[in-house]
Every structure is written in C-alpha cells, then in structure tokens.
C-alpha cells in the first residue's frame, strides 16, 4: 500500500497531465494535491522503518525500503511536493505557455517517480535503470523554454549524464560478473541484500574495479568533480522548480547509489579503499567549487557550484567512518531542504529582474524584502552559519574527520570552506544591497508562494538547534546499515 501510494500517484499525476490536452489549470492543482500522497506515504514508511521494520514488496522483493531508503524517500517526496506547488502551472502569470506547463507536469512527475523508484528498488540493476531514467525525464524539462543556452545545457547534461550512467552500468555488470563467478548464478543476484550477503566471498580486485566504474558513473549524477561539468549549466538554465529538484534530491539520489555500493564493497574489501577514492573525489569537488565560487557572476550557477561543494562534503563525510556517515546523511537532508528553497527563491528573483547575473540584481532588500530575507537566510545556511542545520552537519563532519585522525585533511577542508564562505557572502551582499535598476517594480507579489520557503527555513532552524529524535534515530539506522 505504501509503495503503491508512493510510486503510483506520481505516475497517475503524470498520466493525467499527459492525457488532458490542452493543459488546464486544474491539472496543475490536481498534481499539486497528489504530491502530498507520496509525502504522506514517505512519512508513514519512515515511521514503520523507525519501528524496526524493513518493508518489501513485489515478486522477489522487487522493492525494499530500509532506513537509508526511508530518508531519501522523505527528501524526494518533500522536494517533489515543493516543486509541484511552486512549479509552472499554478500561478496565473508565470511566464510559461500551456504546452510548457503540460510538459512540466508530465515530466516532473515522471522525474519524481524515477527518483522514488531508484531509492526503493531492491535490485541494483533496477536502481541503475531508474537513475538512468531520471536523466531522460529531467533532460526533457531543462529546455522548457527553448533558448540556445537551455538547448546547450540540456545536450551537455544528457550526453555527460548518459555516458556517466553507462559507466555505472559497467560497474554493475562487473559486480554481477564477480557474483556469478564466485557465488553461483541466482535470479536475485543483483538484489542488494544478496550482494551484501555474499560480499565476503567475492573477489576483491574485481569488486574494486566495479566500484571505480560505479563511483565515476553515479558520481557524474552526483556532481562530483571532475564529472561535475554538466551541473552548473543544467542547474542554471532549467526552470527553477526543476533546478530545485535536481540540486535538492537528484544529487542525493546519486549519493544514495554510491553509498549502497560502498556498503557492499566495504563488506568485501574493507572501508579503506572506498574511503580513499571518496576523499579524493570529494576534496577535488570541494576545491573546484570553492575556487569557482570566487569569480562567479551568475547567481544560479553560484547555487549550482555550492551544490557541488556540498556534494563533495557529503562524499568526504561518507569516508570518515560511522560519525562521518551520520554527519554526511544529516548534511544531505539539510542540503536538500536548503538548496531546493534557494532555487525556488532564485526563480522568483529571476522572474522579477529577468536576469541571472549577480551584478544585475542589486537592491533585493528594497525590491523584494521578504524574498531577500529568506534568500539571505538560505545563503547563510549554505555558507555554514548557525543557527541553520548545515552548520551543525558541517560541524559534525569536521568533528568526524578529527575523530578519524584526519586532522590535516580537515584543515584543508576548513580552508576551502572559508574560501567558499567568503565568496558566497560577498556575492550575497552584492545582490541584497545597492540600488535596484530603475524599471524594476518594488514590493512583494504572491506572498503565499513564499510560505514553503518559510517552512524550509523553519525546518533548517529546527535542525540547526536540535536534532529531533526521529531524525537521529533514522540517521542511526543508516549508520548501522552503512557501518556495521
């Protein structure tokens, strides 16, 4: 039932939107309303997982949800709901025509479906298929408005994304090869639990090779350097609601895939190997993102690079033992909430100023004071200031690093974080203050659209000041899974 609600409602919404032609506003409202179903299912699922259950469904345990899946399901359904409520198609005037609205409704729901499938699929092959499908569905949405830039971004995205994900499939095939050769042929061979179960007997060199391919592949989707290149383009050129989904949860889903594989490989060859690779890629992402942020001129790209930075951090966290995995997962949740809010707010700014250049949007505090306030709060959050959740998770992450005896690594990380911080705050101030260009109207419009942003800020502050017990229990479950 949970899985039906979770997976079928987005499909239903997509089907409705596809069948009703031309687009009608009620479809948008219906989709928005339906977006609560997966969210509710996710909450229900999490509650049951917290009670110690592992939910499965379908022939051969086709779907399976443990603590890790539950967390991701929550994140995905939350951001999907956010995007459903704030995406094109609800407001009377949002700059999109009927065809574009329809295609948004169809593909955003499909996108949500594929992500939900990716994090609940039991079979790592199916997980791969779902992640590959996210590329296809999201690529359709990037050029919602066809411009040279959006076509360029989408081509780069789909090509890099497809090639990357194909490499992840190589990794999957190699692992299967290993399994078949050492544990015998089974129908359930690619099921994650059977992989994990027989990991100790698997051949470690082959598994290492497999992990390299998997890491490169899913790392491409996660935006890890040096495969991150599609990310700033795609995030800056797509509609803000899609950017929110991509930056908020698509990266998280890819991290999820990497973590799943890391658990298997660790069980076979010990964590030292995967940790080394993750640290290398994480640090590289962090460094490239931090330094690129310095000279950034476009605020959506700035947010995109900040996503790369945070993916890098999460990746580093995964390599820092149980404490690090806890911190990384907390970070992932915080980043999901923050970044999806930030892209939605950036969309508002873009709609008002008709520009994504930082230099062309000064004076936000005067033209849109409430948006500016939320935007500033979000920027402080992604820069890692209290009282927001990212501060606590970065803090926990650095602590895990020191506890793991990687003091020098954490020193470098701290320096890079400071660089990113300075860059972000400087850019923020250029946007917030100064004189707005003359023709820009002053005053907030559609204040209701900011309510979700307010909700996000509240969540962030709550996560920054306390760690609610369900969250910490869920995270501890993940740590149990990931670092037994």
């Amino acid at each position: 039932m949970i899985f039906v609600l979770l997976l079928l409602t987005p499909l239903l919404a997509a089907a409705t939107a596809a069948l009703v032609k031309p687009y009608r506003a009620w479809v948008g409202w219906l989709c928005a309303a339906l977006s609560f179903a997966p969210l509710g299912a996710a909450l229900w699922l999490s509650a049951r997982v917290l009670e110690g259950e592992v939910l499965t469904w379908g022939p051969g345990e086709f779907l399976r949800a443990d603590g890790l899946s539950a967390l991701l399901v929550l994140c995905v359904s939350f951001v999907a709901a956010l995007a459903a409520w704030l995406g094109p198609g609800l407001a009377v005037e949002d700059g999109y025509d009927a065809a574009e609205r329809r295609s948004y409704r169809v593909f955003s729901n499909l996108f949500a479906f594929t992500m939900l499938l990716a994090v609940t699929a039991h079979n790592v092959g199916v997980m791969w298929v779902a992640v590959e499908a996210t590329t296809i569905t999201s690529a359709m949405l990037i050029p919602l408005h066809i411009t040279k830039a959006s076509v360029e971004a989408s081509w780069k995205y789909i090509l890099i994304g497809s090639v990357g994900i194909a490499l992840a499939f190589v990794g999957t095939v190699l692992a299967y090869f290993d399994f078949v050769n050492l544990a015998g042929e089974q129908a359930s061979a690619l099921n994650w639990t059977s992989l994990l179960h027989s990991a100790p007997v698997l051949h470690d060199e082959v598994l290492k090779l497999a992990f390299v391919f998997v890491l490169i592949g899913y790392g491409t989707k996660a935006g890890l350097a040096p495969m991150h290149t599609w990310l700033p383009d795609a995030h800056s050129e797509s509609p803000s609601a899609l950017s929110a989904m991509m930056s908020g949860v698509l990266l998280a889903v890819a991290i999820y895939a990497i973590l799943r594989w890391k658990i298997v490989v660790d069980a076979a060859v010990g964590p030292a190997f995967t940790n080394r690779l993750l640290i290398a890629l994480g640090l590289l992402s962090l460094a490239i993102a931090a330094f690129t942020l310095i000279g950034q001129r476009n605020y959506k790209r700035m947010l995109a690079y900040s996503s790369i930075e945070h993916t890098g951090l999460t990746c580093l966290g995964l390599a820092l033992g149980p404490l690090g995995i806890f911190a990384a997962m907390l970070h992932l949740v915080n980043h999901t909430v923050t970044k999806s809010m930030m892209f939605l707010l950036a969309g508002r700014v873009q709609q008002r100023y008709r520009s994504t250049e930082i230099a062309e949007v000064p004076g936000l505090v005067r033209t849109m004071p409430v948006t500016a306030g939320f935007f500033a709060a979000g920027m402080f959050a992604i820069a890692g200031l209290p009282p927001f959740g990212l501060f606590i998770s970065e803090f926990a992450l650095v602590r895990a690093g020191f506890a793991a005896g990687r003091g020098w690594l954490m020193g470098v990380v701290l320096v890079l974080l400071v660089v990113a911080f300075i860059a972000l705050v400087t850019h923020l101030n250029r946007m917030l203050y100064g004189d707005p260009p003359a023709p820009i109207p002053v005053g907030e419009r559609q204040l209701w659209a900011l309510a979700p942003a307010g909700l996000c800020v509240v969540i962030l502050v709550i996560l920054g000041l306390t760690l609610p017990s369900p969250v910490s229990r869920l995270l501890n479950k993940i740590v149990e899974i990931a670092a037994p």
Binding site: L167, L277, P386, F395, F402, A403, Y433, L465
Partner: protein, 671 residues
C-alpha cells in the same frame, strides 16, 4: 545567580521582542530598556561573582548534538562587568541615537539585533564547553555582522561587512580546528575535563597557534586587524561602542580562557610571540590612527592599539609564567584585564561621543568640524574625559592600567636568558612611544573637532544631543573616573578573579589606598586617589594664590592675533592633516605615503603658477603587502580553476575519461 542569568536572558529576549513588535518609537524605547536592564543584570552578575567568589554552573539539556553548558567563574566576571557597563551605556544612548534612523533603516532589526548581540556576549563568557563556546561565538559574529550592515545603503558598509565576516570566519575556522585538537574530538566535554587533559596533549603548539589566529582575528590584533577600521566606523555609533568596547574583548577573553586557563600557559615563545604581536599592534594602531581624519576610523585604529597593549600584558605574563615567575605573571594578567575593562569604558565613551558629533554634524570628517565645544559642551566634556583616559593621563583609568603594564614589563630583568630579556626594554620603549603618540593623536582628535572655529556650515549648526545620549556617555565617563581612582581596589579584586586559574600562584599583597607593588622584581607605588586629590587641591590653590598676591583679574575679549590681517577665517586654522604632518614625516619610512604633485603654469610663462594640486595618501601596507597578494593568489587560482568549466563538451568528456583512468590506476595501487 541562576535567577540573575535567567533574568538577563529574559530581559534581552523581551527587549528584542519589543523592538521587533513595537512601532518605531515604542519599539525603540522598549528595546533599549530591555537591553539596558539586561546589561545591568549582567553587570550585577559579574560583580556578584567577583564579590562572592562563588561559581555558577548550569548545564541545559539542549537536544542538539550534546549539552549546552554555562558556568561563571573568576575569569568570566570581569568580562561580564564590562559587557554590562558598556552595554547599558550604549543601550541608553542608542534609545536617542537610533531615532535618527526612523524611516531610513529598519529600527526593528537594529533594536532586536542589539539585544541579541548583548545576549550572545553575556552568554559567551559563560560557555563551559567547546560546543557552547563555538555556537555562541558564531552567533555573536553573525549578529555583529548584521549590525554592521545597518546602514546598508552606503557601499562602504557592504565592503566593511564583507571584510569583517571574512576575517571573523577565518578565525572561526581556526578556533574550530583548535577545539577539535584540544578536546580530541569531543566538543561536549566540559572545560574542566579539557583543563585536566591539556598538559598531556601532543599538539600543544598547534593549539596555541590556532588559538592565537582565531582570537586575534576577533580581537583585531595585527595583521588581522584590517576589518576593525572598516567595520567600526560604518556601524551605528552605539553599536560601534559595543563592537570596540566589548566584541573585540571576546578575543581577549577567549585567549585567556584557552591559553591561560585551559592550557595553563606554555613555552616562553608563546609569550614572546604574543608580546611581539601586541607591541606591533599597539604601535601600528596608533601610527595609523594619527593619520586618520575620519573620527570613528581614528577611534577604531586606537582599538587596535589598545588591544595591542592588552596583549602586551598577556604576552609578558605568559613569558614570566614559562620561567616560573608566577607573581610577575599574575601581575601581567591583572594589568591586561584591568586595561581590558578600562579600554571598554573609554573607547565606548569615545565612540558614543563621536556618535554625538556625527549626530550633530552629519559627518565623520574632522576637517569639517571645529568649535563644537561651544555648541555641545557636555559631549565635549565627555569626549575630553575619554581622550584623557585613552591617552593614559593621570589620574584616569587608562593611566592606572598602563602603569601596571609598565611595572610588569620592568620585571623582565628577572628573565634568566639575556637575549629574551632584552625584548622587554624594547617593548617598554615602544609602549612608551605608543603612549606619547596616543596623546598626540587625541590632542588632534579633540582639538580639531571641538576647539577653535567651525570649519563647515554643518559644524556651525551643530546642536547638543538629547538627554538619553548624554546619559549614556555620562555612565561611561563616571566609570572612567571611578576605575581610574580605585586601582587599589580593582587590582586585588581582579587578582582574586585570576586566583581561579589554579596554575597561577598569585601572592596576595596588602593593598591600601596606594598601590605599592612588591614583586620580586621591582618596587613601585602609585596612588591615583591621592594624586587626583593633590591635583584638585592645587587647582584650587593657584587662583587663591593669585588672589593673595593681588594679581590683575580683569580679562578682555579680543580677536585672535593674526600678524596684522583683519579677519580670521576657518581656513587659517591648523587642520588635522597639518597637525599630524610632523609625525608623518618622522615615520615616513613606515607610512610610505604616495605623493602626487601637479602644477599648472600660466600658458604664457612658466614663471607664473596658476594652480598647484598636491595629493598624498597613505595606504596601510598590511593591505598591500599581505592581503592584496593573498587575495591575488586566490583570485589567480580561481581564474585557473574557472577554466575547468571551459564550455567545451569534448573537454568535459575527456575529464571523465581521464578521471576514470586515474581512479582505475589508483585502485590498482591501493592495497
């Protein structure tokens, strides 16, 4: 004590709430009341802690990672006192001062943040574990940052805020690393545990360096001082008072807490480095202050100077401690703490005074002031008291603490290594030079601002500030005098505050009305109350004597003598630039002023000059030699890194191929 702590928190929060919810007038006034009463409670808290010697301790069940622990001990108390004193004064002052922002900037934000800043400051000195400390530290920085941004329509404000938050964040990162090393990863361990474990830590030197970096960024020690002269002038003046008086003192507090208390001191070079940085800050601070014509920037540079003096005391104390000269060490720390409180009072007072001048004239440029003593006599008197205090003139408070620092340094002869000991007289000489230059600077600041003829229309139209502002200044003025007259009381009390640091053997001496110091090194005595009384008696006796000898008592008012010219205009007066010119020449090697001279000749003959334009500027060379190259390096790296994203799909795919191959090779090599 718990009640008082709760009371202070409630007052601040209520003040913040009132400021947020109230209208422009009532929000402003109620917010100020909240802040003032909260600050008064903080002051009381500090005094109670010092008087009773009792220790307050509370651990709140804070569901984030771990507990939130507060504790008040001897070392917190002086800082609570100065927070309370300056906080209350600036709150009262701010009630009147911020009225000028009505309708221009958000008063709600200002009032609420002001309360929050005081709240974080009050709690900061109570933090009893690393987590609490760091959270409050970052909260304090953030609130202060937002306060600096109050006048956000000025581009200079944004620049200042950027610098401030950047440097403060560098400091925070250093502190974070420092605490992780100190606590071996367990940030929720109480400071007591850290204190017990500190002696056996292996990375003590790294911890010290990180602490110095982190806390000097907050305190504004050279070379991390650059944000100070930018951020303090652009903040509203009562906030500047708080920034300069209290916020930067948190750097001093943190340094004392970590290095003295938790680490219990260390090698001699710790003290030597601290001392050297202190001397450099003191000297460069005052030198740049001399060249400044922006009244508030001048004061901000003086904060650099005084922080330097405080760190001289701490550094000397650390050095003595490393050689086992415990009573000298204690003297140094007491002197530093004393100067910390004193500086809070007189710098707060001066910023409030400068705020009144700004309020009255609308400019911070001294060259456009003059003659204000007649238009705003009370402000002038208060500023004069502050100026005399900061110039260390007897019998005010600046003198008392500088005298103690000199006495501490004289003990340097007891350091067994001559090479190290020779540092001390150099420090003495440079400290004395600093004192002299500070006096010169405040003659300039007071003389050009308040004396002679107004140099601009705005200065002519100046008016005395409202009562609340005068009251705010009055509180601090009285504190300056009071602290100056009672060193015989303050020093033993501070000594008791330090007695809590159990590794310091503080020899209690008998203190009477005078302050004779009987350390193994030197013997010196000073009694500022007697000195003050003597000066007052003499001031009374002189007119009496004149009357006795029958001197002519008639006074005629005339023109200023002008070598025969008829009218005297403001342009004929000495300017601030001219006043500082001799010192600029003397220290030209350090200032390295740029000169730009252009002469326009008459087209017909080059013997007739039509106009001469002379420009000379001083660029602090820290910015040129340290920050610009550093920023340059980062920008160069950033430029290179930017080209990774060259926009070229083939390249991107090549990255993937290369990344794949590299990781495969890496996997090969990994055992």
């Amino acid at each position: 004590m718990g009640t008082l702590v709760t009371g202070a928190i409630v007052c601040y929060l209520a003040g913040a709430l009132a400021a947020l919810l109230g209208n422009d007038r009532w929000g402003r006034i109620l917010g100020a009341w909240g802040a003032a009463s909260g600050a008064a409670i903080s002051l009381a808290l500090g005094m109670v802690a010092l008087a009773s010697g009792s220790v307050f301790s509370a651990v709140f069940d804070f569901p984030s990672l771990t507990g939130f622990a507060l504790r008040i001990d001897g070392l917190s108390a002086p800082f609570l006192i100065l927070t309370g004193l300056v906080g209350a004064a600036s709150a009262v002052y701010g009630a009147g001062y911020s009225a000028a922002y009505t309708g221009v900037y958000s008063l709600r934000k200002l009032g609420a943040l002001f309360n929050l800043l005081l709240l974080t400051l009050t709690l900061q000195v109570m933090a009893d574990n690393a987590l609490t400390f760091l959270l409050l530290w970052e909260a304090m920085s953030l609130v202060a940052y937002l306060l600096v941004l109050t006048e956000h329509r000025e581009p200079a404000t944004i620049r200042a805020a950027n610098w401030y938050i950047a440097i403060t964040h560098v400091g925070f990162a250093a502190l974070l690393a420092m605490f992780f090393l100190l606590s071996a990863g367990d940030l929720s361990a109480a400071f007591d545990t850290l204190r017990a474990n500190a002696p056996v830590l292996t990375q003590r030197n790294a911890i010290f360096i990180l602490a110095l970096l982190g806390f000097s960024a907050k305190a504004g020690l050279i070379p991390l001082h650059v944000w100070l002269p930018m951020a303090h002038p652009v903040a509203p003046s009562h906030v500047s008072a708080l920034l300069s008086g209290v916020v930067i003192k948190m750097g001093v507090y943190g340094f004392c807490r970590i290095v003295l208390d938790l680490m219990g001191g260390g090698s001699a070079w710790w003290g030597g480095l601290t001392l050297a940085l202190g001397v450099a800050s003191a000297l460069f601070g005052v030198l740049y202050a001399l060249m400044e014509h922006d009244l508030k920037r001048l004061l901000a540079y003086h904060s650099v100077e005084n922080i330097g003096i405080i760190f001289i005391g701490i550094g000397a104390g650390l050095m003595f401690q490393s050689y086992g000269l415990m009573s000298l060490a204690a003297l140094g720390f007491v002197a530093a703490l004393y100067h910390t409180i004193n500086h809070a009072c007189f710098k707060g007072l001066l910023f409030l005074g400068a705020g009144s001048v700004l309020h009255a004239t609308g400019t911070r440029n001294m060259e456009e002031m003059g003659g204000l003593i007649k238009r705003m006599p009370r402000t002038a008197l208060m500023f004069l008291i502050g100026a005399a205090s900061i110039s260390a003139l007897p019998p005010l408070n600046g003198f008392a603490s500088e005298w103690l620092i000199f006495q501490t340094l004289l003990g340097g002869s007891h350091i067994p290594e001559p090479a190290v000991a020779l540092m001390i007289p150099i420090a003495v000489a440079l400290l004395a030079l600093t004192g002299g230059l500070a006096m010169a600077c405040f003659v300039k600041a007071f003389g050009i601002t308040f004396l002679a003829i107004p140099r601009s229309h705005a200065a002519e139209q100046a008016h005395e500030s409202p009562f609340s502002m005068q009251a705010g200044m009055g509180i601090l003025g009285l504190a300056c005098i009071g602290l100056g007259l009672t060193p015989f009381f303050v020093v033993p009390v501070l000594g008791r505050a330090l007695a809590g640091l159990d590794r310091l053997a503080w020899e209690t001496t008998v203190f009477s009305l005078t302050l004779p110091l009987n350390t193994p090194a030197t013997f010196g005595s000073m009694s500022s109350p007697l000195l003050a009384a003597g000066l007052l008696i003499l001031l009374g006796l002189i007119p009496l004597a004149l009357w006795v000898i029958g001197a002519n008592r008639r006074t005629r008012v005339g023109d200023t003598w002008g070598c025969g010219r008829i009218a005297q205009t403001p342009r004929m007066q000495y300017t601030a630039t001219a006043f500082a010119e001799p010192l600029r020449r003397v220290f030209a090697e350090l200032y390295r002023p740029t000169k730009d001279l252009s002469i326009d000749f008459h087209p017909e003959s080059k013997y007739f000059v039509q106009s001469i334009e002379y420009q000379s500027e001083i660029h602090p060379w820290f910015e040129k030699l340290l920050y610009q190259p550093l920023i340059g390096i980062f920008h160069r790296i950033a430029d290179r890194v930017r080209w990774i994203q060259a926009g070229w799909l083939g390249l991107y795919l090549t990255y993937m191929l290369v990344g794949l191959i590299a990781l495969l090779v890496l996997a090969w090599w990994t055992p």
